[in-house]
Symmetry: C2
Subunit: 194 residues, 2 copies
DNA sequence: TGGAAGTTAGTTAATATATACTAACTTTGT
DNA sequence: ACAAAGTTAGTATATATTAACTAACTTCCA
């Protein structure tokens, strides 16, 4: 359902965003990088918003879907959170272009459709994490002295800021290795003390 | 050192950013809102970057300076964190326009000067919080089973995401009240269990 | 089976609009 | 009277998008 050229457009778009920020994603830059003219882009996507929506879809596939899948699996809440973190770090290490998309809320402010879409994605992420934590609380794996939704905010907020720092340091440290260390802290924090 | 008109330009800029995102901050919008013409803006600021730098300065005054001041005071680490959170929630509730600035990293990507400035601010915040936590660990007020810098990331990340959600819900809930509740969670998480 | 018709993916050229910024002149307040 | 702060009218550049056209294919049917 996605042609090769469409895939190429999205892939190059991610590169541009990652290199120069969202401001670097212009039809001109896009066409130039691919090696076709600007109007040719419109043979493959109706307009720029459709391209941005496709980018958000890549992001969704790499986060929400992975999260939701995790919720249904067996295993302790801690194991699930561990899986999610490791997956997330692995995906971002493989595709650092996505980092800019994670923090794209402010950029899409002018397009209601994009705003709504990203809001929905963030809600879904929060619900998935909250759900895992609540189940963990019932099973006495996760501390119950604090609300699951507050814990979820701290977990996701911590993950986001951790990744942001990696980006701001030009991806200079090993996200997977340092991330594993950070994950240990998260696990200690959410675990029930015995 | 700042004229009335300069203050007005910054204040209106913050309004515009808060309403329509950074993309809404154009010289045209700015002039229109103030009720003067575009060239008149340049009587007060050399160029747009100077305006953005002044905005970052407002942000810095409301975060880093407040944080640093807190570090030097007496009181437990928990009390200091509590102060910082409450101050932060109060400032943002009074000046919701600042929320957009907190998350402006992605927007300033094209301007190296602005990027550097915001990176420095984020580092300073992290150092202030880390410092408070480390002292708290030495005094056995803060849990020592996890690193202070990891804790700092979770605290700031949580705070940021909490505020982001407030913004995405159009400032619909009471930040100060809900924030106080969130703060309780943060306090429990960083405290030494007795 | 071979030509008419249609499709795909590209081109060049142009358009409308937005944006930051400037030059030259005018108003205004002390 | 003069400097600060304003105006009008303009520039250069960027940006998304459209119009008109073309070369190279695929499909369809007499």
């Amino acid at each position: 359902m996605q042609t090769d050229r469409q895939k190429e457009i999205i892939s190059v778009s991610l590169d541009l965003i990652s290199e120069k920020g969202i401001q670097g994603l212009t039809i001109k830059n896009l066409a130039q990088r691919i090696g076709i003219t600007e109007p040719a882009i419109y043979r493959h996507y109706e307009n720029k918003i459709q391209i941005l929506l496709a980018i958000l879809e890549v992001f969704r596939k790499n986060t929400v879907l992975v999260f939701d899948q995790e919720v249904g699996l067996k295993g302790t809440a801690i194991e699930k959170i561990e899986h999610i973190f490791k997956n997330q770090f692995r995906i971002l290490a493989e595709t650092p272009q996505l980092v800019a998309v994670i923090f794209s809320e402010e950029i899409f402010r002018n397009e209601p459709l994009l705003m709504e879409r990203i809001g929905a994605i963030m809600d879904q992420i929060n619900q998935a994490i909250s759900g895992i934590l609540k189940e963990g609380q019932e099973r006495k794996e996760i501390r119950s002295d604090v609300g699951a939704s507050h814990l979820a905010i701290m977990i996701m907020g911590g993950l986001r800021l951790f990744v942001k720092r990696w980006q701001m340091k030009d991806f200079a440290f090993d996200l997977i290795a340092e991330g594993a260390s950070f994950l240990q802290t998260v696990k200690k924090i959410i675990s029930k003390t015995q």
